[in-house]
Subunit: 438 residues, 2 copies
Amino acid sequence: MGESTEQREPRVIIVGGGFGGVATAKELNGLSADVGLVDKRNYHLFQPLLYQVATAALNPADIAAPIRRVFRHQKNVHVVMGEVEAVDLENRRITVKGEQVSYDYLVLAAGAADFYFGNDHWAKIAPGLKSIDDATEIRRRFLLAFEAAELETDDAARQAALTFVVVGAGPTGCELAGAMIEIAHEVIPADFRHVDTTTARVILMEGGPRVLPAMPEKNSADALRQLEDLGVEVRLNTRVTDMNEDGVFCGDEFVPTHNILWAAGVKGAPVGQTLGVELDRSGRIVVGPDLSIPGHPNVFVIGDQAAAKSAKTGKPVPGVAQGAMQGGAFVGKIIRQEIEAQQRGGQPPERNAFSYFDKGSMATIGRNRAVADVFGLKMQGFIAWVLWAAIHILFLISFRNKVLVSIGWLWTYIFTARGARLITGGREPRVKRPPKIG
Amino acid sequence: MGESTEQREPRVIIVGGGFGGVATAKELNGLSADVGLVDKRNYHLFQPLLYQVATAALNPADIAAPIRRVFRHQKNVHVVMGEVEAVDLENRRITVKGEQVSYDYLVLAAGAADFYFGNDHWAKIAPGLKSIDDATEIRRRFLLAFEAAELETDDAARQAALTFVVVGAGPTGCELAGAMIEIAHEVIPADFRHVDTTTARVILMEGGPRVLPAMPEKNSADALRQLEDLGVEVRLNTRVTDMNEDGVFCGDEFVPTHNILWAAGVKGAPVGQTLGVELDRSGRIVVGPDLSIPGHPNVFVIGDQAAAKSAKTGKPVPGVAQGAMQGGAFVGKIIRQEIEAQQRGGQPPERNAFSYFDKGSMATIGRNRAVADVFGLKMQGFIAWVLWAAIHILFLISFRNKVLVSIGWLWTYIFTARGARLITGGREPRVKRPPKIG
């Protein structure tokens, strides 16, 4: 550290290398400041395609890039791989890996964690989908389920092995459910000799009255139909009340299954809970119109970790990539203006209020269907899927700078090979009965 | 199982889905027999490129394919994911996942395991490179070493974090060492702010008098020069006598390092040790000229698990992919002929003796150098590398059926991006001192 206080450059610490943190740091490019970007992982992740890693269509490296690589040419950014242990708002410093580091500006962009509604023991049974490790774990469990079913001689146990319950029908839940049933019913049947993988069931459970609750009602209705066309059993107004290794309870009903995936609740990242500031019901930090914490004008919160309202509409800023990126650019601009003003001895401009600009949203259902709501235009089916594919191809190309790989991905994706069907890590498959080989 | 003995098809059990096992099963295509292929993993692996996964140039799925997928159209093959617990040669049956399965022919092709010369506690300190999980673990440790060095304030500890010791200078050791020093010295320097990654040392330790001991002496000399040009410190005639978390001992000398990789000894897969048959010093099963175990004509051993001699030359069959594939095709043909003869009530032909046909071998040193010995022609440098790249591109295309992805890989590989630089799984990085951020 060598905290030589004389003539120290102003220090901005950004916690989290997701969409929000990266957008903030990029906005500070060229500024005469010391920008520390802290993340417990070494990679920036394109989370909207994470379900494709979980369902073996994409490799982890297709949607993740080392954070250091992203900022290799922006010399004022220092990337630190580590977890923030404490934030001391009073004395303006954080603790990382046992050392205290002071800041002039702090941007909290640590995202969200899975929230099991107070049932933390569900976490082991029903993994969520937040990181590459989550995705490969879900892929492992998904693929092992068929291996177990192939060796299972008991009918009930085989059906439990082939029943996949997805809890939560937001975009991730719908996309997972659609991809899983397509793989089971269309991609892999010829690979197995004993088990008929077309008997696999995918059950999508949603506590509310419709799928994709954040999208317009027409999109929800379209998505519901597409899911049911594929064979997904959608259960609306269904709350999971308990679960164990053998299945899931919805009130009095018990659904036997060995595979439960969590795509339901999220809460703000744990570091927010240690600050002693106002949180909303989901553990997100309540921020003012300029996205700073009330009473702490030099501490901003953006993305999934913030409970923010859009100034124009008064509505909450949704927990999506666009919200985080726009928030990051917004607070980055404020910080830049204020540091620059200070450095030339002038007055910074007054802070604006943040308004979220909704470009629309989309979700894929299976391999060539989707719903989209773009600038108010609601689309569905193949045309929505083409739009989805075009946008994501453009993203993959810009993200990875790899035209050929991206086209290769599209090719694979359309022609169903699912190259990444590897079972790695973890333990042995769960088999209760001895196998049959003959 | 339902072991209905009347009119049962002859059963062939193949243990291991590597080059040897797959070649055997493919040779049995169309045969009226029940072919069980047992592997503890669900994927067939192109092991010669595994070091490229460990050094972040390739994704796991680029070099691994689900075994089921390989045999989806060969209906007489049943793939079982599981470990063989016991082999009962007397009663002709194996135990898999607690159940006994009888066989008419058994082909052992379970490969090799790392051999630490009796020091099994080294395994945790110095991982070897045999599976996808090994490769991602090595990749994780390699990338975390730089993260630790970036945060390290003590000079000696930083140098230990940046010292990579590779034990064993066969093809894998040479390829790992060359790739690692190129990454440290050429690919990532700009990504780090505090640590100078060009100060990283890669030390290649070899117990014998030359690198690539299985290749001709000219190749060894060329490879040594290429390694040293890249900056690898090659130590010949150097035996590792002990190691711990802080470094490696070679007799009286102690080399401080946090990163030791094992590419030295291998031994035959553990299942071979349970048979009560003759093994060689490396725990491989000694086989006769027809690759069967003496006294057990219906049990064959191929690939790395076998100690076999080539009939023409009298020399040992080397533990390489070609040896396993040729052995697999050879025993597959014997089994096919004998089963077909039995089914039509005739006499099977007499068994031939196996001869290994050496097409040559090659090893890459860094990104655009190699040594090759092909049909007696010894090449080195860029021309050898072009040959290497051409052969492997052809392989990747045929293996994955993905022309575009393979070309994309070549592109990335040549232009150094190393897309797969992700740290996944495992624990936190090893840092002894607090970090510096400013």
